[in-house]
């Protein structure tokens, strides 16, 4: 953009920068010169300045004070609960792992138990794990691909 010789098209875009206070002094000077000598761009400048003034005068409705007072508490509760869920998950993982370890040690590795029973329980466990993983994967894949998932049914 040549600021020494602005076209009307360039000037009209630069008017945005002028009303928003975003122009350098060199840009401002060139634009003001152009506006002074061009009635069409002057008219545009007045229109956009008026629009800017009117939008600035639009008063957003204030939110009742009690909502602001409780605002941080709501955010904090979300943060705190997340920490709670993390601890619950870690606790559950530790308990389940310990249970599994004890089960393997006391039952599956216990030669006093009949081999057929241990084999049966192992196969049953593997079956349940495979089915669980498959259902979980399906749910996750459907959730990822289903474009209607957010519709309340």
């Amino acid at each position: 953009m040549n600021y020494n010789k602005l076209t009307c098209e360039d000037a009209q875009v630069l008017i945005m920068g002028l009303i928003d206070g975003e122009l350098t002094s060199e840009q401002q000077e060139s634009l003001k010169k152009h506006i002074d000598s061009c009635s069409s761009c002057r008219e545009q400048y007045e229109l956009f300045s008026k629009l800017k003034e009117e939008t600035l005068n639009m008063k957003l409705k204030p939110l009742p004070e009690m909502y602001w007072d409780e605002y941080w508490t709501h955010v904090y509760n979300k943060i705190e609960r997340r920490a709670g869920w993390i601890f619950i998950s870690i606790g559950l993982i530790l308990i389940v792992s310990f249970g599994f370890y004890e089960f393997v040690k006391d039952f599956l590795m216990n030669s006093t138990q009949p081999l057929i029973l241990r084999a049966g329980v192992s196969v049953l466990g593997i079956g349940i794990i495979i089915t669980g993983i498959s259902v979980l994967r399906e749910k996750l894949m459907v959730r990822k691909k289903d474009k209607y998932r957010s519709i309340l049914r």
Binding site: V13, E22, L51, M58, L60, K61, L63, I151
Partner: protein, 194 residues
């Protein structure tokens, strides 16, 4: 490090660094500083005060969760705004689908009611005929035009901040604003003629 957010004049960077080292209370400084902007940004996007309150709080929660990945040399609010914007856009899309479902299932009455709630200017602006006309004009614009005007006029972002928030070159902001405002003027003019 114990920080009293009320007594200390923290910079955003100080607060973020404190949060990154595990001080949750320092996050309050950011929430207190930006909650008004966040709420009104969400309100202008969702046009519903309850949703705006809930989504802006949720955006702060998500920002806190991702704060460890935040580059402290960047502007916090423009980064936060992207999170808020995504949440609001997802929410709007969900709501549109629900409105469409209600329209399909329950007929036009329920659809009109939900549509009216969606465009209710009294919930957003103080009563003023001109404001309501401008709001109606803004609502007729396409989302990209509407958003850039809202960021400039109501969020008071600089061109650099708008560029960062929308992920566009700073040089495009001025021209995008020009076309958006031009279309807004046209819409307001046509509403005036009615």
């Amino acid at each position: 490090m114990v920080i009293n957010w009320k007594e200390q004049m923290l910079t955003d960077k100080d607060a973020i660094l404190a949060c990154q080292s595990g001080n949750t209370e320092a996050f309050r400084h950011l929430v207190e500083k930006y909650k008004t902007r966040a709420y009104y940004s969400a309100l202008l996007l969702t046009k519903n005060s309850e949703d705006a309150l809930d989504l802006s709080q949720d955006a702060f929660f998500r920002a806190f969760r991702s704060l460890n990945r935040f580059d402290t040399s960047k502007n916090f609010y423009t980064w936060f705004y992207k999170i808020l914007r995504n949440l609001c856009i997802n929410h709007i899309h969900r709501r549109e689908k629900i409105v469409q479902m209600v329209h399909d299932d329950d007929g036009a009455d329920a659809f009109d009611r939900l549509e009216h709630e969606d465009k209710n200017p009294e919930e957003i602006f103080e009563e003023n005929e001109r404001s309501q006309m401008l709001w109606a004009g803004l609502n007729k614009l396409k989302e990209t035009d509407r958003e850039i005007i809202l960021l400039k006029e109501f969020d008071d972002m600089s061109y650099q901040e708008i560029a960062d928030a929308l992920g566009i070159p700073v040089g495009s902001v001025m021209s995008r604003l020009f076309y958006a405002r031009k279309r807004l003027l046209k819409e307001v003019e046509s509403l005036n003629e009615l």
